[in-house]
Amino acid sequence: MKFLDEYRDPRLAQSLVAEIRRIATRPWVLMEICGGQTHTLMKYGIDELLPESVELVHGPGCPVCVTPLELIDKAIAIASIPDATLVSYGDMLRVPGSSSDLFRVKAAGGDVRIAYSPMDALAIARRHPERRVVFFAVGFETTAPANAMTVWQAKREGLKNFSVLVSHVLVPPAIRLLLGSRSNRVQGFIAPGHVCTVMGYTEYEELAAEYKVPFVVAGFEPLDLLQGILMLVRQLEEGRAEVENQYVRSVTRNGNEAARRRMLEVFEVGDRKWRGIGEIAASGYLLRPEYAAFDAERVFGVQTTTAAEPAECISAQVLQGLAKPVDCAAFGTRCTPETPLGAPMVSTEGACAAYFQFRRHA
């Protein structure tokens, strides 16, 4: 298939692996930040192809995984309101809240719908003026422009029955937290290609300069990642700490400025809580006051109390690259995709789910 097969060529993969093996003289710990990249690595077994000295740890870039419990509880509370329709990406439906999940709310009669685009939620709102339609706007910088566009459009049309439950988080503040932590082991980062498609990579240049760690912006296909790893190992071996761009077919240094302008018309940077990590200052997007009428938290005023995460779940360490899913005593036994203890076992982008799905036999 055009535009895919050329990035999955096994012979090219072998030559990249051979080159990584040739140049890696010391042990290196690399982190791929984005859950989509974790998924590709596991699906193709790329970590198995690498020399033992190159260790991959998995980053916090799974939006479903880091959405705080309180927000999931709010979504559940909203979906349980008779005249409300909650529209969400499919992954969110199975994420356990404190006492239920959205699939269960749907089974009990709540109007919960899966969409592939926030614009679908807008279309439902237009078609059903009698219902209060809420889009669960989850994600990193990647999904923020489309979600912003939806809110902007709703305001322009004067839609009164549409709002968004916003849970947008930003990558660089989380990486900064990780790099500043004394327990950090990561020496180089595969930066998230789709986030950088929107944002560019100047933010990562600041991080690289400040913490003296290299970044390579990479794509999501197996050859993208192998090439990204090769570029990263080469920088480390040569003692460089720069930002390089492997994903040139999608990413430019300044990103998509038009998308960012629209995004910042609707959103402003604010503090956000990350599931498994905690509150990080200036690490997410909030709706600007001019768009308060579209803020589902205000529209519905739902209050939820915070429940504790299961004590056994080590997702906090997994999300920060301090532990691997298989280090967890509950992995694959008490915690499976059908009975998840934590969000990384739910989302297809979650590291625990990726290990469970692809790697239990190893």
Binding site: L4, Y44, P96, I114, R334, H361
Partner: protein
Amino acid sequence: MTSCPLPLTTKDRILLGHGSGGKLSAELLRDIFLRVFHSPVLGRLEDQAVLEIGSERIAFTTDSFVVKPLFFRGGDIGSLAVHGTVNDLAMGGAEPLYLSAGFILEEGLSTEVLARVADSMARAAEAAGVEIVTGDTKVVEKGKGDGLFINTTGIGRIPAHVNLSTMDVRAGDCVLLSGFIGDHGIAILSERESIGFETNVTSDSAPLHTLVRDMLRAAPGIRMMRDPTRGGVASTTNEIAEKARVGIELVESAIPVRDEVRAACELLGFDPLHVANEGKLIAIVARENADPVLAAMRAHPLGANAAMIGSVTERHPGLVTLRTPFGTSRIIEMLAGDQLPRIC
């Protein structure tokens, strides 16, 4: 841990995922039905019951159809209801003979729609050489059904020399697949109003009994057959691995998937191995007989793209693995939860 609200059990209410043919369906069967239905015939959990009546062996099966939309590229709920039950009989090696047809209609359904569906069923039955010999109609109030649901039950005769059973699967056997996977699921999905993508993929809905007949004539050594409908090739091979306590190793590059289906799966985040088929079969065949059986499949119009996609191993019993083109190996899981609602 008493204050801990998790994990949530899946047992308190029926979820859509309970109908997906994956893990939740298997749980429902185990925890509700098999606890109270003690028949040893049912306990074999094949696609059809095999009953000995006098000197004859009869295959007996039933299936319900709730597909949405009612009409789709490559078929409709009527033809699907015939093909689905014919195939469940055929997978036991049976020659399908008679079908029943039960209709649950929603008040307000257009009679023109019903007539089109009935006509399609009649044509599908005639083409498959089966007779619809009994039926039933019920009507439910508006809003209590989704237009039209169909149940079909089928009876077939199993030839004397045919004896297929999952329990006969052995390490060393070959896994054969009759053609491209995922066509039905993607065809249905692309016609849903909520998902804005267009494709020309057509459902593969077809009756497989003549393909089965040709395969059985070609060589002995066919251990068992299964049509990978809901839950796709992944769920079917997992069921076989689990039941026969063997491992199955599939080879990714050998599995036929159309580019259009691959592309749709890429976009939607699905694995083609999890997507439903309605006109494909998987056969586990003794290694020494695999070539003639494969040749017979390829000689039949419904098996033109048949392929050997893997083998049975004594390693990792109960697990299905996939060898990637990169030479690495990963697990293929049964579909967990729901992927595509109401595909059959």
